[in-house]
């Protein structure tokens, strides 16, 4: 692609901000440059450099917008903060737009509620259009679109894994506990991140136990085609990819004739389904509703269906609110209900809920090891401080990206703190026939 070609494409994409959506245009025209966003940004907290300043990142786009779309910019150029696009900057953009975790903390404190993640995503969309999405990201998207999951796993492997988990639970509790697969007409269609089945499977086992105890083992199902809610189109800024990936899952839910799509412990997957797909009606009227498995389990706990042996989770446990669950979906109390029921020593992290600090791996950054130095020494610094203050030995969180980032963060900074899911803790301590899971020591 020639430079003029690149420039034309970028400028046109930025000009298009004029035509909406409303947020983009308002953000181009409203900032007062007060610097509040920087003071609440996990990245800027980690390292106070100009390139990490959220307002500055948005200004990369804003300057070009001013140049082409505002009267003052056209008249006064640089004096009005307008600047033309320079194709040489693209490489710089590639790193800068992947130095924002899209956690939306800035929007919480900005006097105008400006959500810089919107502009980060716009910047990434421009890169994606130029074919400049970082390779690690692009690969995940490609595999996902090809196979329906970010693993590239097939249905045979998946079914084998499910069988294994059933055996595992049978050994733990001495009775068969089912994980139904491809059952048409089941009420609940469970969509976890695939890692929660194939790599850290305790979350899925936890949910299976919940259904078992309620006597609803035949009322839910997983799909051997669609078992990964992760959708990296959100992270690359490519709406087309995001919708294509999403459509598969909605279609499968329709095919399975489920009444509820039960999303797993995956923040961005739930946000896309609930706040984007369902709320704005991407695919018209839906024959099912979208719910989160933590909501569902927490409600059952509150109804008093379960008993727990908290001594199975004796270590101090804290909960990290994934930004996509806390700030973007308002799921804050349910995981706490589950953890308080399942753990002996639950501790809050401060600040928390909608004001929680990002783990430093949001916006897909967690999957990018080429910037691990940045994630460990800049974006994750605040989280590390927060976690240390709790004195917890286990961080429960409901998001695979957060889990990966936090695991690496603890490893990198020599903290002996484990990381895991919310239903993991439930799985370890919930009583079935008066008995908690029997976890053998093989030493």
């Amino acid at each position: 692609m020639s430079d003029t070609n690149v420039k034309e494409k970028v400028v046109n994409a930025i000009k298009a901000i004029k035509n909406g959506p409303r947020a983009g245009r308002l953000y181009m025209e409203t900032c007062a440059k007060c610097g509040t966003c920087a003071s609440v940004c996990p990245i800027y907290h980690g390292k106070s450099e100009k390139r990490y300043n959220p307002a500055e990142r948005t200004d990369l786009i804003r300057r070009i917008y001013r140049k082409y779309c505002t009267i003052t910019g056209r008249l006064f150029g640089k004096w009005a903060g307008a600047e033309d696009f320079n194709p040489e900057d693209i490489e710089e953009w590639r790193s800068i737009f992947y130095e924002c975790t899209g956690c939306r903390r800035c929007a919480t404190y900005c006097p105008f509620g400006i959500d810089h993640s919107v502009m980060t995503r716009k910047g990434r969309a421009i890169l994606d259009m130029l074919g400049k999405t970082p390779d690690t990201m692009q690969k995940v998207v490609d595999i996902s679109l090809e196979t329906g999951n970010t693993d590239g796993a097939n249905d045979v492997a998946f079914k084998a894994a499910i069988e294994f988990l059933e055996e595992e639970m049978e050994e733990e509790h001495g009775i068969p506990i089912k994980i139904p697969v491809d059952v048409e007409g089941a009420d609940y269609f469970y969509v976890p991140p695939s890692g929660d089945v194939l790599v850290n499977p305790e979350a899925t086992m936890g949910l299976a136990k919940v259904f078992h105890i309620l006597g609803m083992a035949d009322k839910w199902t997983m799909s051997s085609k669609c078992f990964d809610g992760a959708n990296y189109g959100l992270f690359t800024g490519n709406d087309g990819d995001m919708k294509k990936d999403n459509e598969l899952y909605v279609q499968e839910a329709k095919d399975l004739k489920c009444k509820t799509m039960l999303m797993g412990e995956c923040g961005h997957a739930y946000r896309i389904m609930k706040m984007m797909m369902e709320k704005t009606g991407w695919w018209g009227e839906l024959p099912f509703k979208v719910e989160n498995c933590m909501e569902w389990t927490a409600d059952r706990i509150k109804e008093g269906h379960f008993e727990f042996d908290k001594s199975k989770n004796p270590q101090p446990v804290t909960y990290h609110d994934p930004c996509n669950f806390g700030r973007s979906c308002g799921i804050t109390e349910d995981p706490r209900v589950i953890l308080q029921a399942a753990c002996a020593d639950f501790r809050e992290m401060y600040p928390n809920r909608g004001e929680n600090w990002c783990c430093g791996g949001g916006g897909g950054l967690s999957a990018m090891d080429d910037i691990i130095e940045f994630r460990m020494e800049v974006s994750g610094v605040k989280k590390l401080e927060q976690v240390r203050d709790t004195g917890a030995k286990y961080i429960a969180t409901a998001c695979s990206n957060c889990k990966r980032q936090l695991t690496q963060l603890m490893e990198h900074h020599d903290e002996e703190i484990d990381v895991g899911g919310v239903h993991d803790m439930l799985s370890r301590s919930i009583l079935i026939n008066g008995k908690a899971a029997d976890r053998k020591e093989y030493v």
């Binding site: 590239g152 294994f164 595992e168 890692g195 850290n200 695979s400 889990k403 002996e416």
Partner: protein, 221 residues
């Protein structure tokens, strides 16, 4: 992880292997059992590799060599008829960070096969010993020879701990037990007929951070 300089690991037989920046064998083709044994110690397998360990490692090696792939954790357990707990107790740092590391797969290969491998959460190596912020054993009584070996491994002593080491270590421990004090460095040298430089060579950390630390003495007497 933070430094850019090449990481290496040296086996008991003095063979050196180059690691990638995540502490995985840089070139999986250079793997041998010697590497596995050295790496296993770093992954919390202190008492040597058992047959179970080797079977699992060769299972991973085969998958790598013949199919250029790596099964996901759950699938690997399934294939070996292992329970997750068994995997966790045999490989304390987990499947991906533990077993795959010992099997000599490179980090790049792991990411390339499937990014989800790297999402595994278990693997914090719990040390068996309580260590003070200065890096000294918190409780003198919890010292044992294995602890000394671990510190020795940390220093990468080419011949491991020799009789000379043990003499000094036992002297220090006996002295401390009796006097509740740390002897003067010259007393130690005199008692063992050593020059200061010899002592430095035996215990690379120096007297306090080397000899006293490996003997489990506290930082302050």
């Amino acid at each position: 992880m933070s430094s850019d300089k090449t990481k290496t690991i040296t086996s008991g037989e003095g063979k050196t292997y180059v690691l990638d920046k995540y502490g995985f064998l840089a070139n999986p083709e250079l793997w041998d059992e010697e590497f596995a044994r050295s790496m296993a110690r770093l992954q919390g397998i202190y008492d040597g590799m058992t047959q179970d360990h080797w079977n699992f490692i060769y299972y991973i090696r085969n998958k790598y060599q013949e199919e250029k792939t790596l099964p996901l954790l759950v699938v690997a357990c399934l294939d070996n008829h292992w329970r997750l707990d068994k995997l966790r107790s045999l490989f304390p740092t987990g499947y991906f960070r533990g077993a795959c590391r010992i099997a000599g797969l490179s980090y790049a290969f792991l990411c390339d096969v499937n990014i989800w491998h790297t999402y595994e959460t278990v693997p914090n190596l719990k040390s068996e010993y309580k260590i003070t912020p200065q890096g000294f054993l918190a409780d003198y009584e919890t010292w044992n020879e294995r602890y000394a070996h671990l510190i020795g491994d940390e220093w990468g002593l080419s011949e491991g701990l020799t009789d000379k080491h043990w003499q000094v270590i036992h002297f220090l421990r006996n002295y401390y037990q009796a006097m509740h004090n740390i002897p003067n460095v010259h007393e130690v040298c005199e008692a063992h007929n050593l020059e200061l430089d010899d002592l430095k060579e035996l215990f690379p950390g120096g007297y306090r951070r080397g000899a006293c630390r490996i003997s489990g003495l506290p930082f302050f007497a």
